[in-house]
Chain length 251, copies 2
DNA sequence: TTTTTATATTTGTCAAACCTTTTGCGTTTT
DNA sequence: AAAACGCAAAAGGTTTGACAAATATAAAAA
């Protein structure tokens, strides 16, 4: 009687149901925007209770696979895969890893320098005038001396995103989203005094100019130098900052 | 009386609670492996019912932020950010987008060609002997003529991952994981007849040799050519394959 | 001392109801 | 006839209270 006792129960009922519905969506048995049965009906069909069904649906909703609305025309619907939502998901995952110190600063800087340099090359090839305008808009914003640090950093992020956007490559934009959104905030935490800003803006301007001229090599070299140039000042800044354990009221 | 009407209610109670706990974890107010109060206690503190608390916890569990165990020493614990779990998350998100046809084949091939070529450069710089061994192991596996298509594809994926691994860069490995795991299955769906296999193996061998010699340029060029060479055969294969709507029993 | 048993604790599940939002229809009013 | 209003039904959102299952710890028995 040496049968396999695994696979008989793969976890909680909610997990099993979530897996079943997820599989149905991924395999196309549930079309986009199709409406699932009501929670009560699902509970009846799976032979479980409604709270358990709801736990399963919450998991799927957290993965951006379904959405729910109330009312007679409401219900649970299969969500069209959304680039922004997916990007947010991976950004959150990456941000968590970075925030918890799973990566070395050197690694992050190197990865950003290399991948963004690559994006510069492709941007120089494929950029449109609109892409250049988007970069120019952030550059003019960054000129504003009265901008506070937070807004300056946000504009910096948008500039780097504009470069990625200019590549015109969806999959690349997708993964670079995680790179930029999750790694830049760490690198931008303490720097940006006034003369730092001037240097950053100068680098951005030269990068944009090279992309405008479709000069791949120059654009890539500039970007890599720009990103990796932040390492020294970053090391110095982080050395001063000992993260004390926050004692705020917890849950 | 022109006040802002947003922010009054940000969503369901479960979502609000999930956001609160998530913020507590991300801000470090809840340490890794720290135990949260029991579900009953959380319900009391937030002034909501236990099923609602459970819905919130399920969302966080789906995001790999917490885990739960039963029993006296059980409870809900903050999960240490896990590279594999995070990689699986972003791979799932990317796979969904690819599977739903949100990206063009050309885009995918171009993105893979460029990024993997970049990885080849870094691999040539930083590879260890263990990395070369890992590639060699897959190569010898791929020589086996009796290997079925599924196993051959799996080995192919592992070879590409070995190249990424050889870069020694954690953040890069993280995002390339999504690239390789989610995009390769699509590209590998219909090809790999015998003479295709020989060509693939030959390319792999040359790539590994170039990485072994620390010849960046050659390795990168070989990889890019290898990946982008699949475009023609892929276009042809996909032209024959009209995805009919599966009529299997739905939920 | 080792093994077994009991017990307390905590998550997992269930059942039945009530609340809130949304929609659509029917009525009333203009 | 058209617009405004109001009501009722449908569906998700929430509550209450209970029971089931797992599991670590302590107690009891061998």
């Amino acid at each position: 009687m040496a049968l396999h006792y695994d696979e008989i129960v793969r976890g909680s009922l909610a997990k099993q149901v979530a897996d079943l519905i997820r599989a149905a969506i991924l395999e196309g048995r549930l079309q986009v925007d199709e409406r699932l049965p009501t929670e009560e009906e699902l509970a009846r069909r799976f032979g479980i209770s409604r709270p358990t069904v709801r736990e399963a649906l919450k998991v799927l909703a957290a993965q951006n696979l379904i959405r729910s609305r109330r009312g007679p025309a409401g219900g649970t619907f299969v969500t069209r895969p959304d680039l922004d939502a997916a990007a947010r998901t991976i950004t959150d995952a990456a941000t968590l890893l970075v925030g918890m110190g799973r990566f070395e600063i050197d690694e992050i800087v190197a990865a950003r320098g290399q991948t963004e340099a690559l994006c510069c090359r492709l941007a120089a090839r494929n950029r449109t005038d609109e892409d250049l305008d988007a970069m120019a808009q952030e550059l003019s914003l960054q000129q504003d001396e009265t901008l506070n640090d937070e807004d300056f950093c946000a504009s910096d992020v948008r500039f780097h995103r504009a470069v990625v956007q200019a590549t015109g490559n969806g999959p690349l934009q997708f993964i670079m989203h995680a790179m930029i959104e999750s790694f830049i905030p760490i690198t931008n935490m303490l720097i940006y005094r006034h003369h730092e800003r001037r240097r950053t803006i100068g680098a951005h301007q030269k990068i944009r100019a090279a992309i405008a001229e479709r000069d791949e090599d120059t654009a890539a070299a500039l970007m890599q130098h720009h990103v990796e140039g932040m390492r020294a000042v970053l090391d110095q800044a982080l050395a001063h900052r000992r993260p004390e354990k926050p004692g705020g009221e917890t849950i």
